[in-house]
């Protein structure tokens, strides 16, 4: 075995952002699906309160994170590229079972594998904005209805439909995400690095990259 080397993948802001976003999104899913009528947990009024308060915090966090990604240049980790996507898919479908070598190793220059890169870009550039924009339409429906929402053919039910479809997509993302983070070198490896910021890579791997 080669010697282990530690690289600093996730900065402090990034980790705070990730975990507070995680808590808020889970809270919003719990309350959101209650508002949707799936179950009764907090009661409708409380659920709406928690849901909208979390939404505002999340939007502030979103603005801060956009600012952070662009000022630090971290946005580069999410530039779309098809390079390495197919080997990564093949790895998840076949290699992971046969114990094949991982096609990708994280570095400070590319901390996400090619599939992650695309998935996260899709979530943060399309899915979450869809949630937020439809959510704002929902919150300010009365103010916006007459001016332009209705001229777009969007009644409250259409906005709610978009918002709920997006919410189910977030749920599906969450299920997949929670599983895929267990596919590191050990089950807890990726989670640990999101907590401490540090990821252990072998000397051999870091040289190869």
């Amino acid at each position: 075995m080669s010697e282990a080397k530690r690289i600093y993948l996730f900065k402090r802001f990034e980790r705070i952002w990730h975990w507070s976003q995680a808590v808020l999104i889970i809270l919003m899913m719990l309350t959101g699906f209650e508002i949707h009528g799936l179950y009764s947990l907090f009661g409708f009024a409380k659920a709406v309160d928690i849901h909208s308060t979390s939404a505002w915090i999340l939007m502030v966090l979103w603005v801060l994170s956009i600012f952070w990604h662009f000022t630090t240049g971290e946005f580069r980790h999410y530039l779309p590229s098809m390079k390495g996507v197919i080997p990564q898919v093949q790895y998840y479908l076949v290699g992971i079972f046969s114990g094949a070598e991982k096609p990708f190793h994280a570095t400070e220059q590319a901390k996400h594998n090619p599939l992650q890169r695309l998935a996260y870009l899709g979530v943060s550039a399309f899915l979450l904005p869809l949630v937020w924009i439809s959510g704002l339409g929902y919150l300010f429906y009365n103010e916006l209805a007459d001016s332009w929402l209705q001229s777009l053919g969007l009644g409250l039910s259409e906005i709610a439909l978009i918002h709920t479809v997006a919410a189910f997509l977030v749920l599906i993302f969450l299920v997949a995400h929670l599983y895929l983070i267990t596919t590191g070198k050990t089950v807890g490896q990726h989670t640990r690095s999101m907590i401490t910021g540090w990821e252990e890579v072998s000397e051999e791997e870091s040289i190869k990259n």
Partner: protein, 524 residues
């Protein structure tokens, strides 16, 4: 933003309360500024109630002509439209006349009601005795207000004596004053055959209302009288459904004009502390949440009436009366079968203030439930809100040859009146004759429904509908066309497809994880 909104709404609420106090104050000072018991003209003695009118109009010389121009005199609307309780005024003017503010109606009302002397004390008596005595002594048909012809009350009268015999006409004339809940209620509480029978939100309990019954009228609440909201200009009353304006009006009212009979005229459109609740007021009328149930004052309202069973007689041609355990009349030969309800949940529907009424001879489809009146409005017209309604069903006679509802000649001194002769053909023929309708001689009964908007008996805020009542299934707003109620209205497929894909994803990753474990053991 929320804080700012809250302050505004608190201010608005405060302004509303001030306005109410201000007008209540005016009302009191007006009645205090002159003492009618000192007027020479009112010293009497009066030989007849008409003489009191002469004394009144001697000073109030415009009042009569003002009143001739009002709905309380003209009965415009009421004369031409039908309801499905006592269906028609035509030919029944004697019986209906006990609630008119004159001294008896002419027999033929087809040309409207001509100006004549006005019975001032019908509304302005404060003794409580005048209008009571007038009903009971001027030959009013007992059955109009008492389904059993007051049979049940006769024992009480025998035991306790007559309720009122304390004042002379002169004393009553000297006690003249503001209208009161009791004076308005003497007509508006007892129509439909019993206390609270017709208006599920108006009954005699309101005279001493508790806070739970009505926050506006109770002494612990705003302590308002009917006329504090139904204000008059030259005796013209604000807030009648016949005028197609009033209870649903959202317009702002100048403080100088005094409150109109709308919630909004005192409370504005954003009266609540929670801005999210205020967001509802563009779609939901105040009454919908704040009158969660009606007929909840311990007095039942009628829910149905079957005229088709009327006319069954006991031996010796005596009319029958059946009571339920609560002493309500469930059958009378004069009226047929009736049923009652208390603490009822309203029916909710869109309403823009315009009510389509039907007249005598309305066409019906005997196979269907026929709407005697229909509240207009929809989600799309931009001016409707969802209002609570009392829906009342009854079986009414119609001509089977023409499918037209027939007017019933109920009361009078002749044998053709149903309440004298109990013969449908005779009374329907007399009713038809009175309005100039053809009657084939063949009749049947058809189902009708009437919708009455509920505006009174506003409950304390804690009793109002809460979020869950509408936003969790089963929703109080279920089935209302064009209304999206978050929490209950999304298409079923959405949840199924959304949860289905999430479940497939979950099974997929669990299977993947399971295979990883198996293969990793194999490799070892």
């Amino acid at each position: 933003m929320n804080l700012f909104g809250m302050q505004i709404s608190v201010l608005k609420g405060f302004a509303g309360v001030c306005l109410a106090l201000l007008t209540a104050g005016f009302a009191n000072s007006a009645s205090m500024s002159s003492d009618h018991s000192l007027y020479e003209e009112l010293q009497g003695p009066f030989d007849s109630i008409e003489d009191i009118n002469t004394a009144c109009v001697g000073c109030h010389n415009l009042s009569e002509s003002e009143l001739h121009d009002t709905i309380h005199w003209q009965w415009d609307g009421k004369l031409d439209v039908i309801n499905n309780y006592h269906p028609n005024v035509a030919s029944n003017s004697n019986a209906c006349g006990s609630c008119h503010i004159g001294y008896g109606l002419p027999k033929n009302l087809t040309g409207g009601i001509e100006p004549a002397a006005v019975d001032c004390l019908a509304c302005h008596d404060t003794s409580g005795e005048y209008f009571f005595s007038r009903f009971h002594q001027d030959g009013a048909e007992c059955t109009m207000c008492h389904d059993d012809g007051a049979k049940a009350l006769k024992n009480q009268v025998d035991e306790e004596g007559y309720r009122f015999k304390n004042f002379s006409l002169a004393e009553m004339a000297q006690m003249v004053g503001e209208t009161s809940v009791a004076s308005c209620g003497s007509c508006h509480f007892f129509d439909g055959g019993a206390d609270g029978a017709k208006h599920g939100d108006l009954d005699s309990a309101l005279i001493n209302a508790t806070f739970e019954m009505d926050v506006h009228m109770s002494a612990e609440g705003a302590n308002l009288s009917c006329s504090d909201c139904h204000q008059t200009v030259d005796h013209k009353m604000a807030g009648s459904l016949y005028s197609f304006a009033g209870p649903t009006d959202d317009g702002h009212v100048s403080a100088l004009k005094g409150p109109q009979a709308t919630c909004v005229s005192c409370h504005g459109l954003a009266p609540m502390k929670d801005e999210r609740l205020n967001e509802h007021t563009d779609t939901i009328a105040c009454e919908t949440c704040h009158i969660p149930t009606y007929a909840r004052n311990g007095i039942a309202t009628k829910t149905s009436w079957d005229w088709s069973t009327a006319g069954k007689l006991a031996r010796k041609q005596k009319p029958l009366i059946h009571y339920d355990d609560e002493g309500r009349v469930t059958y009378s030969s004069q009226k047929g079968d009736m049923s009652y309800g208390e603490d009822l949940t309203p029916v909710y529907r869109w309403f823009n203030g315009e009510m389509n009424y039907q007249g005598v001879g309305m066409s019906v489809d005997p196979a269907q439930l026929n709407e005697i009146n229909s509240p207009q409005g929809s989600a799309e017209d931009g001016k409707s809100k969802i209002y609570p309604f009392h829906q009342f069903e009854s079986q009414l006679p119609y001509d089977t040859a023409t499918n037209q509802l027939l007017p019933i000649h109920l009361a009078g001194s002749d044998r053709t009146a149903f309440w004298n002769g109990y013969q449908w053909v005779d009374s329907l023929q007399a009713g038809a004759d009175a309005v100039g309708m053809e009657f084939s001689g063949e009749y049947g009964f058809t189902s009708t429904v009437m919708s009455r908007v509920i505006n009174h008996t506003v409950a304390p805020a804690e009793m109002a509908l809460n979020c869950n009542d509408c936003h969790t299934a089963p929703s109080a707003m279920a089935g209302i066309a064009g209304l999206y109620t978050p929490g209950t209205n999304q298409p079923g497929w959405l949840t199924k497809v959304g949860l289905g894909i999430a479940l497939i994803t979950l099974i997929g990753v669990l299977l993947h994880g399971f295979l990883r474990i198996i293969f990793s053991y194999r490799r070892k």
